[in-house]
C-alpha cells in the first residue's frame, strides 16, 4: 500500500521584523499507513512548523515550497496540501488528517459540551442528523476510554481531568477515521503517570484504528515508547532518520549521539550521592539543620464560604547544611508551594517551618528581611525571571545593592563579573539585555544572581523544566559544580525523577500535598516502598525501546494490582 504522507523537499520561511528567517530547510519524509513516525528535535528545530504544514495550518507570514502529498486512508485520492485551495483543504482536514494539540485545556472550547464539539466535526463533513452525530460521539468517547460515555457526552470540558481532556481531544481527531493524526507534543502538558496512559491510547489508535501518527516531541522517552521510526531534526534539517531500535542502539549522526547522551537516566546519581555521603564527617548530623518543616500545612483561603484548598498537608522534613534535598511530585502536589513558603512568598497556615532558625509561621517581613541575604531562589521560567529593561549585570547586581554591599549596579560590577565567570558566562554578557540571551544562558545568569550573596540555602523551583535536554544537562552539571564549590544547602524542586536523581542527596516524594516517601536516591528509586512512588517510577519512559517495553509491562501489572 502507498504511503499516507510524502513530504518532498519542504522549505518554509517566515517574514519577521528582522527579515526572512528560514524555519524548515529541504525536509523530505514519508509515513506508511499504520506507522508512528516521531519527529524529534529541540525548540527552534522546525519540527512543529513541519507538522503544521501537514494540516495547512501555517500562519500568513510563512511561505512554503516543496510538495506535501497526503493520501486518504483508502488510497482513493491524493492532495498536495501546499497547492490546494481553502475549500478543498477544509474537506481534507478531519477526514484524511487531523491533529492532537499540546494543551488539552485550551484545545477545547469551555462553553460547549464535549459531545457538541465532537459532533461539530462530524457535521462539518457530511449529512448527519443531530442524533446520529451524538451516537457517533458517544461511541468514540467509549473507544478512547472515557467511562460512562452516555452521561459524560453532555459534560463540559472543565468537568474532565487533564488526561481525560486529552482523551476527548484524541476522540475528536479520530471520529472521522482519518488515515493520519498529527500529534504535537501530546503529553508535554500532562503528568508522567497520565502521560503513560495517553501513550497507551495513542498506541491503541494505531493498532485498532490503523491510523498513522506523526508524533512531534522533544522527549526521547516518549519516542522510545511509541515510535516505529524516528526523524531527528536540527536547525531546520532532518539530520538522521532510522527505525526506533536502530536509532537508540546505534545512532549515526553526531547531533543524535549528543542528544541521546544528554537525556538523564534514573540511577545516574546514586553513586555520586553515596560518595558525597561518605565524605561527610560523622559530626555533620549534629549540626543544626537549615530548614526544619514539622507537620507543615499551607492552606489557600476559599472564596465566599467555600472551604479553602490545602496545598501542603502535614509535611515534615529537614535540610542539613550543604545538603541537596530533591522534592518530586506531579502538578498540584504542593512542591512549589513548599518552596515558596521557605522563601517567605507564601504564608504558612499550620504546623511549623523553621528557616535558618527563624519561625515562618506568622512571620513578619521586617524581621525576616535580614535573613533574606542567606536565601537564593532560582525560578522556573528563565524568560520571565529577569526585568526586561535592565541589563544582566544590573539584574545580578540587584541583590548586592538591596543588601547594601554596593552603592549602585556600577559599583558592584567587579563582583558581578566574578559571578558571571563562576556560572561560565563571558563578562561581556553582563551588558546584554535578558532577551538577547538564550534560555540556558539566562538560567545560568539566574544562578549567578541567586548566588550573589553567597547564601547558605538555595531554592531551585524546576530550574530546568523550560530548557531543552542538551541545555538541561549543562545547567545541571553547573549546578552540581557550584554546589560543591559554595557548599550551600539546596531544595531542588522538579517533576522529573531523573533530573532530581542526578543532584539530590535525598529525595522526598510529594503526592496531593502529603509526603509519601523520603530517603536517599538508592532507597527511593532503587526500592520504592510507597505504591505511588512505584507507579511514578514505572511511568517514567526511558530512552530505550526494548527496556521501555519491559517497563510498560511492569506498569500494567502495577496498575492492575493497585
Amino acid at each position: 500500500m502507498s504511503d499516507v504522507l510524502t513530504i518532498t523537499d519542504l522549505g518554509i520561511s517566515f517574514s519577521t521584523d528582522a527579515g526572512a528567517v528560514r524555519a524548515v530547510d529541504g525536509v523530505s519524509l514519508r509515513v506508511a499507513p499504520g506507522e508512528v513516525l516521531a519527529i524529534v528535535g529541540e525548540s527552534g528545530s522546525g519540527k512543529t512548523v513541519t507538522a503544521k504544514t501537514i494540516l495547512g495550518l501555517l500562519p500568513e507570514t510563512a511561505t512554503a515550497s516543496g510538495v506535501v502529498l497526503l493520501s486518504s486512508k483508502d488510497g482513493s485520492s491524493e492532495h498536495d496540501i501546499l497547492s490546494i485551495g481553502k475549500r478543498k483543504l477544509r474537506q481534507v482536514r478531519g477526514t484524511d488528517v487531523s491533529m492532537v494539540f499540546q494543551e488539552p485545556s485550551t484545545a477545547l472550547n469551555p462553553v460547549y459540551t464535549v459531545g457538541w464539539q465532537i459532533a461539530e466535526g462530524i457535521r462539518a463533513h457530511g449529512q448527519f442528523s443531530r442524533k446520529e452525530a451524538k451516537a457517533k460521539a458517544i461511541e468514540i468517547l467509549g473507544r478512547v476510554g472515557i467511562p460512562d460515555p452516555e452521561t459524560r457526552v453532555n459534560y463540559f470540558p472543565h468537568q474532565f481531568s487533564g488526561g481525560q481532556k486529552q482523551r476527548v481531544v484524541i476522540a475528536m481527531a479520530l471520529v472521522l477515521d482519518p488515515g493520519l493524526i498529527v500529534a504535537d507534543e501530546p503529553t508535554t502538558a500532562l503528568d508522567v503517570t497520565v502521560q503513560a496512559e495517553i501513550l497507551d491510547l495513542l498506541r491503541r489508535c494505531r493498532d485498532e484504528f490503523g491510523t498513522a501518527i506523526v508524533l512531534i516531541t522533544h522527549n526521547m522517552g516518549v519516542v522510545a515508547d511509541l515510535a516505529d521510526r524516528v526523524a531527528v531534526m536540527y536547525q531546520g534539517k532532518v539530520v538522521e532518520e532510522a527505525d526506533a531500535q536502530t536509532l537508540f542502539s546505534s545512532p549515526q549522526n553526531d547531533y543524535t549521539k549528543r542528544l541521546l547522551a544528554a537525556v538523564p537516566h534514573v540511577g545516574q546519581g546514586i553513586a555520586h550521592a553515596a560518595v558525597r555521603a561518605e565524605a561527610r564527617e560523622p559530626a555533620w548530623l549534629e549540626l543544626p539543620p537549615v530548614v526544619v518543616a514539622d507537620n507543615l500545612t499551607i492552606e489557600y483561603p476559599g472564596r465566599f464560604g467555600r472551604a479553602g484548598f490545602t496545598a501542603v498537608d502535614g509535611v515534615s522534613f529537614v535540610i542539613r547544611p550543604g545538603e541537596v534535598l530533591g522534592l518530586v511530585g506531579e502538578s498540584g502536589s504542593g512542591k512549589t508551594t513548599t518552596g515558596r513558603a521557605i522563601a517567605g512568598l507564601t504564608r504558612v497556615t499550620g504546623g511549623s517551618l523553621t528557616v535558618l532558625g527563624h519561625e515562618m509561621h506568622g512571620f513578619k517581613e521586617r524581621e525576616f528581611k535580614k535573613l533574606r541575604s542567606d536565601i537564593g531562589f532560582v525560578f522556573q521560567d528563565p524568560a520571565s525571571s529577569f526585568n526586561p529593561l535592565l541589563t544582566i549585570a544590573e539584574c545580578v547586581a540587584e541583590p548586592l545593592v538591596v543588601h547594601g554591599r554596593a552603592q549602585n549596579p556600577a559599583g558592584a560590577r567587579t563582583r558581578v563579573n566574578e559571578l558571571l565567570e563562576a556560572v561560565q558566562l563571558p563578562r561581556a554578557y553582563g551588558d546584554r539585555y535578558p532577551h538577547e540571551l538564550s534560555g540556558g544562558q539566562r538560567q545560568r545568569a539566574s544562578l549567578a544572581r541567586a548566588l550573589a550573596l553567597e547564601p547558605s540555602l538555595l531554592i531551585a523551583d524546576e530550574p530546568t523544566s523550560a530548557l531543552d535536554v542538551s541545555v538541561q544537562a549543562r545547567v545541571l552539571e553547573l549546578f552540581a559544580e557550584l554546589q560543591e564549590e559554595f557548599g550551600f544547602a539546596a531544595l531542588f524542586i522538579s517533576h522529573d525523577l531523573a533530573v532530581v536523581d542526578i543532584l539530590a542527596d535525598r529525595i522526598a516524594v510529594l503526592y496531593k500535598g502529603k509526603l509519601v516517601e523520603e530517603g536517599t536516591g538508592a532507597e527511593v528509586l532503587g526500592a520504592p516502598k510507597d505504591p505511588y512512588t512505584q507507579r511514578l517510577l514505572a511511568s517514567l519512559p526511558v530512552p530505550d525501546p526494548a527496556e521501555q517495553a519491559d517497563r510498560r509491562e511492569k506498569l500494567r501489572r502495577l496498575r492492575a494490582a493497585g
Binding site: 525548540s43 511561505t63 536547525q235 525560578f379 525571571s385
Partner: protein, 351 residues
C-alpha cells in the same frame, strides 16, 4: 510655548524606551522605532498622521510668526477689519461676525489647543499612573475604593463632567490662564480613570511576574520594587493612550467652547467658541466662518487618531504587517527564537 512642546515629546520618549540596544538611541524612541518597523498601508497611515500632527504642533508653536494678525485684533493701521468679509484681499479666509480675522483665529486656536492638551495629559498621566501603580501593587481595600470611584467617574458622560468641572473652577469663562486651566483640569478629570485602569491592570499582571517575586525574595523594599521593576515595565502602552487621548482632548475642548464654557475671544483663540459664533452665519450663506475652524478640529483629531491607531496596530505582532518573503529565502536561525534554545557554545554535553 516652545517649552511645553518639548515636554510633550520628552514625555513620550521617557515613558517607553524599550527594545534592543543594538540600534542607536534615535531608532529606539517610540514612534521613530515604529516608523522604521512599519510597511505598506500601515506606514502610509502613520506617515500621514505624523505629518498632520507635525503641522499642527508647528503651527501652534510658530503662531506668533505665521499668523497675519493677533487673535483679538479688530483693526490695523488701515482701520477696522469689518465683520463677515468674504475670503480675499488682506483677509485670506475672511473675517468673523465679531470682526476677527478667521485665518489668525484658526492659527492661534492651534496654540490654545496644544497648551490644553499638554497640561491635561501631563496632569492626568502623573495622577493616573501614580494612583494606578499604588492601587495595583498594594491591592486590598485601597484598591477597591479607587476602582469604585474611578468606575463611577467613568459612568458620567465626559462632556457633562467637563462642564461641571469648568463651572466649579472658573465659574464658566475667564482669562487665558484661568480658562486654559479650567479646560485642562476638566479634561484631566475625565482622563485620570483611563490611565489609572491601564496602569493598574499592567501592575497587577507584572506583580505576578517572576522577576518581581525574585526582587521580593531578595528583600527589596516595596518602593524599590514599584519604581525599579514595575513602573518602567507598566508604561509600555502609554504613548498609545496618550495619542488617542490627545485627540479626545481637542474634541472635549472644542465641545466646551461650543457650549459656551470656553475661553473669552479676547483672552485666546478657541475653535469651539468660533464655531459657536458661526452657527447663525451658516444659514445666511456665510460659510467661511464655520468651515475653517471646523476643518482645523477635524484635521487635528484625524492626525492624532491616525498616529494612535497605527501605533496600536504596530504594537501587536499579529496586526503588524511585514514585507513578504520569497519562497524558501532567508537563513536558518542559528539560535532558536523561543526560551530554551541552544547556542553552539552551550553544546558541550558530557560524553
Amino acid at each position: 510655548m516652545t517649552g511645553s512642546g518639548m515636554t510633550d515629546t520628552e514625555m513620550i520618549a521617557t515613558s517607553t524606551a524599550t527594545g534592543s540596544n543594538k540600534h542607536g538611541l534615535w531608532s529606539r524612541l517610540p514612534v521613530v522605532h515604529q516608523l522604521r518597523q512599519s510597511v505598506g498601508l500601515q506606514r502610509g497611515m502613520l506617515v500621514v498622521g505624523l505629518v498632520i500632527t507635525g503641522i499642527f504642533i508647528l503651527t501652534a508653536i510658530l503662531a506668533p510668526l505665521v499668523s497675519p494678525f493677533g487673535y483679538s485684533q479688530l483693526r490695523d493701521a488701515s482701520g477696522a477689519f469689518g465683520a463677515q468679509k468674504p475670503p480675499g484681499g488682506s483677509h485670506l479666509l475672511g473675517t468673523t461676525v465679531g470682526g476677527y480675522d478667521v485665518l489668525s483665529r484658526v492659527i492661534w486656536g492651534a496654540q490654545t489647543a496644544l497648551i490644553v492638551i499638554v497640561i491635561a495629559v501631563i496632569l492626568s498621566i502623573f495622577a493616573g499612573v501614580m494612583l494606578g501603580l499604588v492601587s495595583g501593587y498594594f491591592g486590598g481595600w485601597l484598591d477597591r475604593v479607587f476602582v469604585v470611584v474611578f468606575d463611577a467617574v467613568y459612568a458620567f458622560p465626559s462632556l457633562l463632567l467637563a462642564i461641571v468641572m469648568s463651572i466649579v473652577i472658573s465659574g464658566g469663562r475667564s482669562n487665558l490662564i484661568g480658562g486654559v486651566l479650567a479646560a485642562a483640569i476638566s479634561i484631566t478629570t475625565v482622563f485620570i480613570p483611563q490611565y489609572f485602569r491601564v496602569i493598574r491592570a499592567e501592575t497587577v499582571r507584572i506583580k505576578a511576574e517572576a522577576y518581581v517575586e525574585s526582587a521580593r525574595v531578595l528583600g527589596a523594599s516595596n518602593a524599590r520594587i514599584m519604581f525599579r521593576h514595575v513602573l518602567r515595565n507598566a508604561t509600555r502602552t502609554l504613548p498609545l493612550i496618550f495619542t488617542l487621548n490627545a485627540s479626545e482632548a481637542i474634541l472635549t475642548l472644542a465641545g466646551l467652547g461650543f457650549l459656551g464654557f470656553g475661553i473669552e475671544p479676547s483672552a485666546a483663540a478657541e475653535w469651539g467658541y468660533d464655531l459657536n459664533k458661526a452657527v447663525s452665519d451658516v444659514s445666511s450663506g456665510i460659510w467661511w466662518t464655520a468651515l475653517f475652524p471646523g476643518l482645523a478640529i477635524v484635521l487635528a483629531v484625524l492626525g492624532m487618531t491616525l498616529v494612535g491607531e497605527s501605533l496600536n496596530d504596530l504594537a501587536d505582532p499579529r496586526l503588524r504587517g511585514r514585507r513578504s518573503v520569497a519562497k524558501a529565502s532567508g537563513l536558518v536561525a542559528e539560535t532558536s527564537v523561543v526560551p530554551g534554545g541552544i547556542l553552539k557554545d552551550e553544546f558541550e554535553v558530557p560524553q
